[in-house]
């Protein structure tokens, strides 16, 4: 039985079989059901702009905001190129130039590149997966608004001349308190904080969304290839982002409190920053590239008019890149004097990644060969991407060679290299995606004719500007210089680069003109101009996307599942109705996408937006040294978060509800199958990486001076207190486990257990403070002390949150909001303890046991 026949047969069965009378909320396949779905997902008026949470709304805002940052950072680049057009030019002062190049890099990497690829995923993935929205809409909205407001604050620092000026990767000690006493560096840390919130939120959403909210029947092997790419990307964000979060925390601790992590005079090391930053920084560029490659893989079948060749190969290549990219980071540090053996190790790894990259490129080319490709504007941009990115990848193999990198590192050669891979590998696919998916965003098509102008101006402008830069760098021009002497042979090349950068900009201008112009034409519904096979083209423009959620049996449902749209509109899929006029989604199993649960989603509201605003104001106020404002805003933010958390895990009926198509599903899951459980797991994995980064810092300091440890003369004397601490935490953890077990039988014991947890945690904190105070380890005298305080502080924060969670569960239990059935809150808090307890024990073993072992 073919997929199409199977779908037809099931559809017929649904219409005929009645729903069991014990099942709640019967779903109607008629017009009344359709009206309720539309009403539940309707955009609220008048403040829908701020309160709407649906991925269509947030996704478009996200893309637009990212593009605005692209334009802003692009203008900075043009101004820089004016300055560099002539030797000895005085168009920009040194201070201004340094702020401009720092902001150009920072805004492009953190406020444009990562957010815009996340944005396309937010916009497109749910419908591509046959779903209506991302699994945590408020988290999506929070991530977006935090990014938009925080990013705008950081960008505005340019107008007050307090923009960061240490380069986009901000190496200490230049960015430490001594050499960057102003708040410029703090503005950078602030901006990054927002990006980090948005990115981790996106990672949680994407992983949970891809694994748990796919259309029924869409197994891992049938999901669109973009979903594979985004799954890998989200996992990379989950593991990579925390390394830079840790580095930032340490930098801010050094700047604000004098804890000398990066200060060599006090036992720290500037190289530590480089390790932590590039551990994130290298995967970061693949976090940027993989989604773009995923979009190319989605667009190509439409233009080649044939399925992607080597789907399994491409998925495999994405996974390979995801893992291997974490083994390359030292290639940014080849000139730092590390041992040649270590460098060669990373050199080999860096070149090895050419294999999964090559697999993707040849899969795409094979797809073109397999089909009958049409040269429309998105296809032009894809060809441009292939050409430019190949060159960038090849110069990448060159810089992967250690001795070659010793010449070209920190010169315009490497600037040319990374612009080739970033503009080729991401910007060109983004433009292809904009032309391709504009009908999904605005319901209208951009102009083919103007699109060709855009492409050629951008392509010629880019290549003519950046190809000479390879030579400029080899002729000796370092990067990040605001001027150069006129007698070194760089003049003509710089002028060429500067002139053609404006040609590239002209291309972008043509695109903008086209975009504004196209908004004036009338929108057309049901547009699928590329005859594309994927599901986002079957979703309407309304927030609900699909009237009902159809089972999917093919990688190319648009081509292979006939009558899909008619069946969907007729309500023959799951959830054809919204009986309580609330937004509902289907939760499915990770591998085979069996329906598991109906998830009630939050509707539009102010919480996420206001929480983002309050958080932004709190951090910004602290950065510009207005602590009163910061504290007030912080309290408001905390109140909003608590209000939000309290609204989680609402009371829901226990009986299964009608899900359409003759099946009934629970409205609630309280264990490993719930999306909340998965979300917390992803968050805790990121948390673990932060902790591991701090532990790495501690061990790194030991390798600098392994002879004497502790190196600052302090002593970790005695095992009594640490063992007592560990014991208290283990007790707390076991009682929390017990609380969960008892909750199933006798709720009074639950309360007792939770009280013991809180008391044990509190006692541990008190004991820990007394112990640490008694040890007399100074956090500012030596990096060792700073590392010990940071590790223990981190653990203490987790224990405190754990204690708060115990009290939270206690209150909810007393109010009847936790019972043997409705216990997800308890279980998620238990997850927290399952992380905190081992983390505490391991940290104590490190701090107490390590000096003992090495002495």
């Amino acid at each position: 039985m073919t997929a199409a026949n199977r779908a037809d047969a099931t559809a017929a069965a649904v219409v005929d079989s009645p729903v069991s009378p014990q099942v709640l909320y019967p779903q109607s396949t008629g017009l009344d059901g359709f009206e309720r779905v539309t009403a539940a997902w309707a955009k609220p008026r008048p403040f829908g702009f701020f309160t709407e949470l649906n991925n269509n709304h947030i996704g478009i805002l996200y893309i637009a905001t990212g593009f605005l940052f692209f334009l802003g950072a692009g203008v900075l680049a043009l101004l820089m190129r004016i300055q560099l057009a002539y030797p000895g030019n005085t168009f920009l002062s040194a201070a201004t130039y340094n702020q401009f190049f720092t902001m150009h890099g920072t805004v492009m990497m953190f406020l444009f590149a990562v957010p815009i690829v996340e944005a396309f995923a937010v916009l497109l993935l749910p419908s591509m997966l046959g779903a209506r929205d991302m699994p945590f809409p408020r988290l999506s909205a929070l991530g977006y608004w935090a990014y938009a407001i925080g990013g705008a604050l950081v960008f505005s620092s340019l107008f007050f001349k307090i923009a960061p000026d240490g380069g986009w990767f901000m190496y200490p000690p230049l960015t430490g308190p001594r050499f960057s006493p102003g708040i410029n560096t703090d503005v950078w840390v602030l901006g990054l904080g927002f990006v980090e919130i948005a990115a981790v939120a996106a990672a949680v959403e994407l992983i949970v969304g891809i694994l748990k909210t796919r259309a029924p029947g869409m197994t891992l092997g049938k999901m669109p290839i973009f979903a594979w790419y985004m799954l890998v990307t989200a996992a990379m964000i989950m593991i990579g982002m925390p390394a830079v979060i840790a580095a930032d925390i340490l930098l801010e601790l050094e700047r604000a409190f004098g804890m000398p992590f990066y200060d060599a005079a006090r036992g720290g090391d500037a190289i530590l920053w480089q390790h932590l930053f590039w551990l994130f920084g290298h995967p970061e560029v693949y976090i940027i590239f993989l989604p773009a490659a995923g979009m190319v893989s989605m667009m190509l079948p439409s233009f080649a008019r044939t399925p992607l060749v080597g789907y399994a190969w491409v998925a495999l290549a994405a996974i390979a890149v995801g893992f291997l990219s974490f083994g390359l980071w030292v290639h940014h540090m080849f000139t730092t004097g590390l041992p040649l053996l270590s460098l060669s190790f990373f050199s080999a790894a860096s070149s090895a990644i050419a294999i999964p990259m090559g697999i993707q490129v040849f899969a795409w080319i094979a797809t073109l060969w397999e089909g009958k490709p049409v040269l429309r504007v998105p296809m032009l941009f894809i060809l441009g991407f292939l050409f430019i990115f190949t060159i960038g990848g090849l110069t990448g193999v060159m810089v992967a060679a250690v001795p070659y990198d010793w010449q070209v590192h920190d010169t315009h050669f490497v600037v040319a290299h990374f612009h080739y891979v970033l503009i080729g590998g991401m910007v060109f696919p983004i433009f292809a995606a904009l032309y391709y998916w504009m009908p999904v965003m605005t319901g209208r098509m951009l102009s083919e004719r103007l699109g060709r102008w855009t492409f050629w101006l951008m392509f010629i402008g880019f290549n003519a500007a950046f190809l000479p830069m390879h030579v400029t760098g080899l002729l000796g021009m370092p990067r990040r210089i605001y001027t150069y002497p006129g007698d070194l042979g760089w003049n003509r090349l710089n002028l060429v680069t500067s002139v053609f950068s404006f040609v590239f900009a002209a291309g972008v201008l043509v695109f903008l003109f086209d975009f504004v112009r196209h908004l004036r034409s009338r929108p057309q519904t049901g547009l699928n101009p590329w005859e594309a096979p994927s599901l986002e083209w079957k979703a309407g423009q309304a927030a609900h996307g699909f009237r009902s959620l159809m089972p999917i049996f093919s990688r190319y449902p648009g081509w292979e599942q006939k009558g899909l749209k008619d069946d969907e509109l007729a309500g023959r899929g799951y959830l054809p109705d919204a009986p309580t006029v609330e937004r509902e989604a289907l939760v499915t199993s990770p591998i085979t996408a069996e329906p598991e649960q109906i998830m009630r989603m939050p509707g539009p509201g102010w919480t996420a937006f206001l929480a983002a605003v309050a958080t932004a104001i709190a951090f910004a106020a602290m950065t510009i040294k207005l602590p009163a404002v910061g504290w007030i805003a912080g309290f408001i933010a905390a109140a909003l978060y608590l209000y939000w958390l309290w609204s989680l895990d609402p009371a829901l009926p226990r009986e299964p509800a009608d899900a359409g198509r003759g099946i009934a599903l629970p409205l609630y899951r309280n264990g490993k199958q719930s999306v909340g459980w998965w979300g917390m797991t992803v968050l805790l994995i990121s948390d673990a990486v932060v902790a591991a980064s701090f532990a790495f810092a501690y061990l790194f300091f030991w390798t600098i001076r392994p002879g004497i440890w502790p190196p600052d003369g302090s002593q970790i004397s005695g095992f009594r207190e640490p063992i007592g601490l560990a014991a208290l935490i283990i007790v707390a953890y076991f009682f929390f486990e017990a609380a969960d077990r008892f909750n199933q039988r006798d709720r009074r014991l639950t309360a007792t257990c939770l009280i013991v947890v809180a008391l044990a945690a509190g006692a541990a904190l008190a004991l820990g403070w007394i112990w640490l105070d008694g040890l007399g380890i100074d956090s500012t005298r030596h990096a060792y002390g700073a590392a010990v305080w940071t590790l223990l502080g981190y653990v203490a924060v987790h224990i405190a949150i754990g204690a708060a969670m115990a009290l939270w569960c206690l209150v909810r239990s007393a109010l009847g909001m936790i019972d043997p059935w409705r216990c997800l809150t308890l279980r998620i808090c238990l997850l927290w303890w399952r992380f905190t307890a081992p983390a505490t024990v391991l940290t104590l073993i490190l701090i107490v046991g390590f000096p003992f072992v090495v002495s």
């Binding site: 694994l211 197994t219 891992l220 092997g221 399994a312 190969w313 998925a315 495999l316 996974i319 390979a320 893992f323 291997l324 974490f326 083994g327 041992p339 040649l340 053996l341 270590s342 060669s344 190790f345 050199s347 080999a348 790894a349 090895a352 294999i355 999964p356 199993s589 990770p590 591998i591 085979t592 069996e594 598991e596 226990r654 629970p666 899951r669 309280n670 264990g671 490993k672 199958q673 797991t681 390798t703 392994p706 199933q744 043997p820 059935w821 216990c823």
Partner: protein
């Protein structure tokens, strides 16, 4: 009422992560080799370009590499046999075996620098 916890056993986290098993072995191998060489150079036993010390480290690293390679190959073989029996889990198993293959190449590839570059230069 009983809490609903378990789903079909093949859907758990471990089943999902098994696809990338080869890469987890790669990551462990990478860490072991990198940390061992970094420590050996930092702590001095290799810094004196002592032939015996270098030979001992090299042998140890080659053995670790062979062990990692063997683990990955065995895993791939096991999944391959499973794939021939089952009919409907073909895709995840293909990707699993492919990941094992690339991880194997990456693991052995790391031997190049270890063998060709003088230690701690």
């Amino acid at each position: 009422m009983e809490s609903v916890e378990t789903g079909p056993p093949s859907e758990g986290l471990s089943r999902l992560l098994d696809v990338a098993f080869g890469f987890f072995v790669w990551a462990a191998h990478f860490l072991i080799v990198y940390i061992a060489t970094a420590l050996a150079c930092a702590l001095g036993p290799l810094a004196a370009s002592d032939g015996g010390g270098r030979a001992a480290l090299l042998t140890a690293l080659v053995l670790v590499t062979l062990a990692a390679a063997a683990i990955v190959i065995l895993h791939a073989l096991r999944r391959y046999r499973q794939q021939r029996e089952l009919s409907d889990h073909g895709f995840p198993l293909s990707v699993t075996i492919g990941c094992d293959a690339i991880a194997l190449v990456a693991i052995i590839w790391q031997l190049f620098p270890i063998l060709l570059v003088p230690a701690c230069a």
